[in-house]
């Protein structure tokens, strides 16, 4: 039996992960398409054939336990490597679920109208699609690159009827609490920035299209 078939049990999870159809909205569809595409599949087929030819020459029954142990360990570490991203997402998500969408809905609708966004969504729904999204923090609104560096409190914006003009961005994410914005910031890296006025509220703003 070819070595790859003996190892296949361990590979099935990876095959399932890459073999699933990629919906158009999936931000990783390019990635999935690349690995599923003919050129990369050819690379993979050659690698498998090479592994089998090496196994024909060097694998003995006595070595099976050793090779299985190496494969199992490498699989565990590879899995850990991929788990990094999910672990970060899991840190963010449970806390984001504490946001109160209903309480925020009216504010979001009014802000969307104010700011000319197509939509404003709570981060809970978007955290896994973050690659394509634009993010703003925390019951407050901050921006950096169009003439004003600062943070607006959303209630204050509404209370005082302040009009803010921002360039159109596809989606604006507002979190209800500073801590949620901080979690998002940790998960998303440099797309978030600290308040330049040093008031301690982590703020984030996406790129203009």
């Amino acid at each position: 039996m070819p070595l790859r078939d003996r190892l296949r049990g361990n590979r099935s999870a990876a095959h399932r992960a890459t073999g699933r159809a990629a919906p158009q909205a999936n931000p990783y569809r390019v990635w999935i398409a690349e690995y599923a595409g003919a050129p990369y599949q050819e690379v993979a087929a050659k690698a498998r054939a090479h592994l089998d030819s090496l196994a024909d020459r060097y694998a003995t029954p006595a070595r099976e336990a050793e090779l299985t142990a190496i494969f199992r360990e490498a699989t565990r570490l590879e899995t850990e490597f991929w788990e990094m991203g999910w672990r970060k997402a899991r840190v963010v998500e449970p806390r984001l679920r504490t946001a109160r969408p209903r309480a925020m809905r009216r504010t979001r609708q009014r802000l969307a109208a104010h700011l000319g966004f197509e939509s404003i969504s709570l981060a809970t729904r978007l955290v896994r699609q973050i690659g394509d999204q634009e993010c703003v923090s925390s019951g407050s609104l901050a921006h950096r690159s169009w003439g004003f560096n600062g943070i607006f409190s959303i209630p204050r914006l509404e209370q005082e009827g302040i009009q803010v003009r921002l360039p159109p961005m596809p989606i604006l994410i507002i979190t209800e609490k500073t801590s949620q914005a901080r979690d998002l910031r940790a998960a998303l890296g440099d797309r978030f920035r600290a308040d330049p006025a040093g008031r301690g509220t982590p703020a984030a703003i996406g790129r203009a299209p």
């Binding site: 070595l3 790859r4 190892l7 361990n10 590979r11 990876a14 390019v30 990635w31 690349e34 050129p39 990369y40 690379v43 050659k46 690698a47 090479h50 592994l51 090496l54 196994a55 020459r57 060097y58 694998a59 070595r63 050793e66 090779l67 190496i70 494969f71 360990e73 490498a74 699989t75 570490l77 590879e78 850990e80 490597f81 788990e83 990094m84 690659g131 394509d132 890296g189 440099d190 797309r191 790129r207």
Partner: protein, 68 residues
């Protein structure tokens, strides 16, 4: 050696090129990627593969690379 070179090219010219493009979409430049400090999980995985190759033969190295 040719097989090794083809594999290296697939990683450097095809796979890594895509990763760099994806990262650019997330606002990360190639310079950002080069300067990022390696995560413990990445070090554990890549060092294990190197170690398997150093301890064993080519088959052991390829088996360690097989899940990737």
């Amino acid at each position: 050696m040719r097989e090794g070179a083809a594999g290296l090219s697939a990683i450097l010219d095809v796979e890594m090129d895509l990763h760099v493009k994806l990262c650019a979409g997330w606002g990360l430049s190639p310079r950002d990627l080069e300067q990022a400090s390696p995560a413990a999980e990445m070090l554990a995985y890549t060092r294990y593969v190197l170690d398997a190759g150093m301890r064993g033969d080519l088959l052991a190295l390829k088996v360690a690379l097989a899940p990737a």
